[in-house]
Structure formats: C-alpha cells, structure tokens
Assembly symmetry: C3
Homo-oligomer: 342 residues x 3
Amino acid sequence: MFLREHWYVAALASELESRPLSRQILGEHVAIYRTTGGEIVALADSCPHRGYPLSLGTVVGEQLVCGYHGFTFDCLGKCVSVPGQDRVPSRADVRRFPVVQQGPWVWIWMGRGEADPTALPVTPWLVDTEGWSSVAGVAKIDAPFHFLVDNLLDLSHETYLHNGSIGTPEVATTPIEVEVDDASNVVRVYRHMKSVDCPPFYSRTTGLVGKIDRWQDVEYFAPGFYLLNARIAPIGEPPLEDGSDDHAFHMKILYGLTPSTDDKVYDFWALARDFCVGDSEVDVFLEQMQTAVVQEDVDALNILQTRAEAVLEVSEVSIKIDRGGLAARRVLAAMADSLTPA
Amino acid sequence: MFLREHWYVAALASELESRPLSRQILGEHVAIYRTTGGEIVALADSCPHRGYPLSLGTVVGEQLVCGYHGFTFDCLGKCVSVPGQDRVPSRADVRRFPVVQQGPWVWIWMGRGEADPTALPVTPWLVDTEGWSSVAGVAKIDAPFHFLVDNLLDLSHETYLHNGSIGTPEVATTPIEVEVDDASNVVRVYRHMKSVDCPPFYSRTTGLVGKIDRWQDVEYFAPGFYLLNARIAPIGEPPLEDGSDDHAFHMKILYGLTPSTDDKVYDFWALARDFCVGDSEVDVFLEQMQTAVVQEDVDALNILQTRAEAVLEVSEVSIKIDRGGLAARRVLAAMADSLTPA
Amino acid sequence: MFLREHWYVAALASELESRPLSRQILGEHVAIYRTTGGEIVALADSCPHRGYPLSLGTVVGEQLVCGYHGFTFDCLGKCVSVPGQDRVPSRADVRRFPVVQQGPWVWIWMGRGEADPTALPVTPWLVDTEGWSSVAGVAKIDAPFHFLVDNLLDLSHETYLHNGSIGTPEVATTPIEVEVDDASNVVRVYRHMKSVDCPPFYSRTTGLVGKIDRWQDVEYFAPGFYLLNARIAPIGEPPLEDGSDDHAFHMKILYGLTPSTDDKVYDFWALARDFCVGDSEVDVFLEQMQTAVVQEDVDALNILQTRAEAVLEVSEVSIKIDRGGLAARRVLAAMADSLTPA
C-alpha cells in the first residue's frame, strides 16, 4: 500500500546525535544513528533475538549493541557477536536501509530493490549554502499521508488556518493554474497575486511595506517531496527577460512527506532564503514562525482524522481551489496502480 | 438505535459565548453558537468541503466561516460563499437543527421530521423566575445513556454513593411506590420518608434542624427529561387539602439525559428552589454541592462502563428498589419497538 | 488459557490496609481486604446487583458493604443484606477465593476445585525471620506473562539492561547449565561465575571488594513462582563438604509471576538475605535498588509488547543463553496441554 521505490526524508541530521533515533517509516521500524566515525546508518529496528528495539541500544564505535542481551551489529546490519557463545547464528543479521544526507535532511530508500541515486530529489539551496540560508524541522501528524498532500496542494487554507502569519485574503481569492506532468509524476500549481498586502512572515524579514506582488509556485514531486517557490517583489517588477530576478526576494519552502503508518505521516520541512543570508536572528524568527504554521496544520489534520475515524465515509464537495489536490490524488493513484501486477 | 423524535438538552445557554460549541448528540456532531444578533443556531458540525469541524470556525455577524478554507454558512445552514470562485455549489449546504432556549437550558430537536413544539418539556421554574431561583450545570459520562437512567430512577444509591451530601440511611430503607403511564411514557417513583435526619444539602439551606419529613417524587419523561420533586417539611405537616404547601421547602431537581454516542451520555442538571430566592450565596453552595454529587455519579458510571466493556454479559440481581429503573427500561424498549417497521 | 489450579501471589500484605484492593488475576476481578478482625478475604470484585466493584465499598467489621446501593457480604461471600427489603435474594452471593499469607506475600487460589495447601510454594526465608531479613514489592507489566518468564529465565540480560546495578560482563559471557524436572514442572538454570567483579548491588551490602565468586542458581516452579539463589563468596571458597557455607553471603531473590489478563502480568518480588540482618539502612538500599531493577524490566517488556502488538508474528533467533527460557516454555505448554480433554 506504500510507494516504496522512492526516497523519503527519514530524519533531520540534527536529530542524529549520540543516541539512536527510532522512526517508523512506511510501516517499518527503523533505527537511525551516527557512528563514532560520523557515518549515518539505518537498520531494521528489531533485534532478531527477541525483537527488542535496536534503537534502545548503544553505539560503540562503528557497531550497535542491543540493550537487552547484547547482540551486536555492524554498519551493514551484520550480526558480529552474541552473548554466551562464540558462534554467531547466520540468521541474526538485520536489514540495512540506504541513506543519504543532503544538508539538514537525511533521505532513506525503503524500496526492495537497489537504491536509485538518480531519483533523489535535488535540493541545492539546502546543500550548497552559497547565497542561501536555511532552517529545518519536523512534526508528526496523526493523520494519513494523503491528508497532508491535500493540505499542501491547496494553499487557499493559508487565509483561514494561518491568518496570523502567512495568510492574507488574496491567497483564497486568487485563482490558480494547475499543470500535471504524468510522465514525471509532478503536479504544479501557480498562484500569482498582484498588489497584495505583505503578510507578517515576509514583511518582517524582507523589510517590504505596503503592497507587493506575491507568487506561490508549487511543485509536488509525488510521492514524498514538495517544493513551494515563493517570490516576493515590489509591484509590477517581474523577472527580467534573461531570467534574472535580483530585485525580488525568494524563499524555497520544502516539505518531505513521509508516511509513517497507514494513518500517520511525518511532516519534514525546510525554509531556504536568498535574503538576510547568514542572519541568525532571521533564522530564529523563521524557525519559530514556521514551527507555529506547521503546528496549525498538524492540529487541523489531527482533528480531521479524529472525525474521519468516526464515520464510514466522508463526502466531499470539491471546488476550483482543489484542482491541485485532486491532480495529486490522480497521480498517486496511477503510481499505485502501476505497482499492481496486470 | 436512538430515539430521535424527541427534544434533548444540547447545551447550557451560558456555554454559548463568542466561540462555537462542538457537541456530539445522538451520534451526530453539532456546532452550536450564538450569532452577533443573539440568535442560537445549531448546524451539522462538518464542512461539506473536506469535513473540517465548523465549530472551529468563526462567527461573523449572522454567518459561520469555516476555519480551514473559508466556506461560509448562514443561520439556516445554507452555504453563501466559497473561496476562489463566485458560484457556490448547491451541495454545500449543511443541516440545521431546531433549538429552543428555556432558561439556562438549550433544547435541540434531532428528529428527521419537523420539530414538535408541543413535545417540549415544561420547566416553568427555570423560565419564569418569579418565586424561584435556579442553578445549572452539565457533565459528560463515559457510559451508556441507560446507565444514567438506572442511576436516577433508583435513588437508594444516595445513601451510599452520596452519603456526605444528600444521602441518609432512610433513603435506602424506605420503600418506594412506582407508577407507569405507558401512554405518555412517564415513570413515577414516590418515596416519602417520615421523621428522618435532614441531610447537609438541605439543612444548610433551609435552616431546618433535627427530624424532618422528606419526599422524593420522581417523574421520568422518557427518554430525555427527568424531574425530581423534593419536598422538605417539619414533621407531620403534609400539604393542605387545597394543595397549598407554604410551610414546606420545595426543590425541583431537573436532569436532561442526552445520549452522545452509544456509550457516552451528557448529564445536564438544574436545581430550582422556592426558598432563599435571590440569595447568591445559596446559589454558590448548591452549585458546588450538586457538582460534587453529579461527579460521584459520573465516577461510578464510568467505572461500571469500564467493567462492562471487559465482559460479555453483566448479570444482574434486581430487588424492590429497582422497580422504577426496570419500569423505565420497559418504557424505553417499547418506544424503541414502536420505531421498528412491523 | 490460564493455569488456574495453582497458587499465585495476589497482593503484598502491606497493601491491605483500611481500604479494599482491586486486582485482576487470571482475568478475574478480585477485591482483597483485611477485616477489622485482621482476616484477609478475597471476593469476586463485582456486586451481583448491578456489577459495581465491591473493592470500592467499605469494610464494616467482618463485612463488606457495596458503595453503590449497599448490598452487604460476609467473609465467605454470602450476601447478608440488601436495601429496601428484608429478604435477601439467594442469587446475591459472590465467589470467595482462598488466600494464605506467608510473610510479605498473600497467595491466592483461583482454581475451580478446592485449594491444595500442599501445592503452596515454600518461602521460609520470608516467614521465619530467624537469621534472615527481607524486603518486598510489586510492579505491573503491560506485557504477557510469558514475556516475564523469558526475562527471568535468561539472566544474561543483566549485563545490558541492568548494567548499573547487578549486571557485569561475566553474566552474559558465562555459560549456563540447565536442568528440567518434568514431573515437578521445575526448570533449574545454573551460572557459576569465578573471579569476577562484584556488582554495586552486592559490594555495597557485603563489603566485598575486588574479585569474587558469584553463583546464580535459578529454580522456576511453573507457573507462578521463581527463586534465584544467589551466592557471593571470596574467590575459591566453595561450600564445605558438609554443605555448610558460612563464609559466603546468600540472597534469595523471589518472584511471584501472576497473570493479570492475557497481556498483563504482576511482577511480585521479595529479597531475603542472611547478612546485614536487621539493618534497616540495607533494607532501604536493597528496596530502592531492586525497585529500579524491576522498573528496567517493566520498561523493556512494555516496549516489547508495544512492538509485538504491531506485527503478526515476531520471529526469534534463539541461542545457548535461551535454553532456560525455552525449557520453561516447554514445561508451561505441557501443563496447558494436560488441561485439554483428550
């Protein structure tokens, strides 16, 4: 039921300190940790002996030692020692999952086959910090993955759910354009607002006052990566014909949508900006602001799920603002169908 | 499974301030709120767009605006605007439930047909305050509706469960009389205690000391309204032949029994008295005392439900004190049977 | 599914003060209390009237009075009075369970037949305090009974889970000997460690420093009683040929394993020692130390159960250290099989 042959964000690099991290991804428990040498490792989080979580164990050098009876594993998941005897049973190895760090995010490959490095989403603004600053975080939502897809593909909710930070009336009233690239499983939603108020999220950081032009260009790379290209500029000053756009402020708002179980999803986020670069006060402001915005989404989706659990079927009345979300559903359904043997 | 074609108490008037109230009644989520103009409105608490609770929205004048994407509804549940387009889909209306305020209580009609105003319980002591003072409250019980019916129909439990406030030994030992009016679905239970101790609940407010005559005349109007006519008087001084009873103290103890779900029930209560009228200290004393008494019932019924959930069948041994409760069960079962097509 | 015809520890004597204790044992709710005269009584914890827990009632002399409507029971479970009438229904009695106090532990017989006094485990170190001091406690584990059996039969986990108190590397590395007495349903596991470090648990109380000989001789009397005979002695000084062993320190570590429900178990424990007898500071130290050790087991087993609930089947890789636990499983399975009609 999960789309496994894809990269998903599994952790923030900052979460991987001395103790292993336990995370349930696509239904599987994974222990993620950094070895003494600095390598990031992800192993199935269940000791083959009696099922105790390996994430409760201890990292010793390049090895992970189970906290119950001491079964010990190397970075490839191979069991290298057990208590009370010299011979190590061959069945005692655990599965290792490929991981790749890109800036603040650690990506994981949960697929059955080999990891496909060319399928890894490209996030240069997080990795090559020349000209960009970024902050990142994560929240867990007690609602299904597709609730979060719906939420992010229809930003008109900013006006109501996030009206103190990023929402202004024009987000809800401005019509959208939707493009679907079925071959690449990408949904794009464009909303270009002209001569609108600058919301607190941007006025505080850009210094712009009064009316602005505000673009929200969404790219959803199904299933697990979402990129909102935000452009804030003085009125009537579009990018130049050569593509340069130095008079505007740009923010890349990235989301990693990672299903945990059927009814829970991790909401990883990162904000990269090409202004106030290196300004740690702006870092703090944006991190606090975005954490609050994400929590508003978490609260709303948790409530939706609580309600959905109580009824057999939730009927929906969709309107034009929903075209992006409905397109994403179709793309995801097609991807799932393609997994089914004919 | 619910008896829908009846009035139930849905809220205290005091609960309806600036923010909408969410309440689950007979299994349905209802958003109850007061408009800027003062009208009380009850709508189905689920936005037709994506199911977000309307109770989390904002009252703007006479309209309710959904807090997720801004679908907007008038007092009749008609959707009057949606974001991003001018045309409002015809399927976007929500159900409105008739409500009537009577003093501190707001009644609701959850039935499929038209509301029947003549079926509304009569509670003059709460509405016409001439000669009466009242206090009111509500508790939610994590146990089925019928547990609360059992509890209220057999007041012998006062002696044990409420022995610090309204219970004295004679409540349990004094035999009861039971009358059933099958045509009107009313069960009456009479307990007339002669020359008994005055419990703290009444001695503090009436000033009576030593022995009293104490009557408990219960009227249960199935399914949702219960009235305990309490009479406290000096020994051997019954009402006069002309019905006047000025030498006695009277209290009307009203309960609104409102099923929330199959296994939860709201326990609305109100106390009206014809003594110490207008004395706010007595108001405070009685409100605190009754809140504590109700909480004792809540705790007991919650525990009973926890136990009942763990067993397939709870066997019972009924005795004479249970005749009121058993009569109420028969009346309710007959009402339910009458709903079933022959 | 439970092995009923056995004695289980039901309570600590110290838990039976003025108020009845509610405990679920082998799936059944039991009210355990001490009468005014000092007798310990265990009755089915459900009033026959409406199922209210009798453990919420009041002990009045030798009787227990239900806290809801006052049904009253004697020490044999016979209902001796009900409210509102003189005649007591014959069906109103409740089941009484035989109990026996032995020192700090109260044993119960949940079997359908007569209690078998000869089957009661012998714990002289707790009862006859000549030459012995003891402390006792109890914890509840949200995991099945057999998880606790596994835990106690394989002490190699001390090295990892209890490494700050009773675990040293040699517990895990020292091979074990296992004996099974199928006729008596007893599993014995011997681990004799020579010239090893003395863990904090013993060094603090015995005063031994440096290397010691340390024996762990386990006797598991299936299903409900476990005895760890611990022997701490200077290096190379085994017991004398006549069996005397005065130069060693002995501790009896007793566990009462009492299934509560299918997936919960009570973990009663007692520590008896033949050194520092009567020293209350050592009592306090050992009680705190053992409480912490037991909590480490509780945490680990709760986590295992949380994981086990999420999967259909937990696969296991067993090694030599597991021979005691596997033997215990076989003995318990044989006992369960013997209950099944051929």
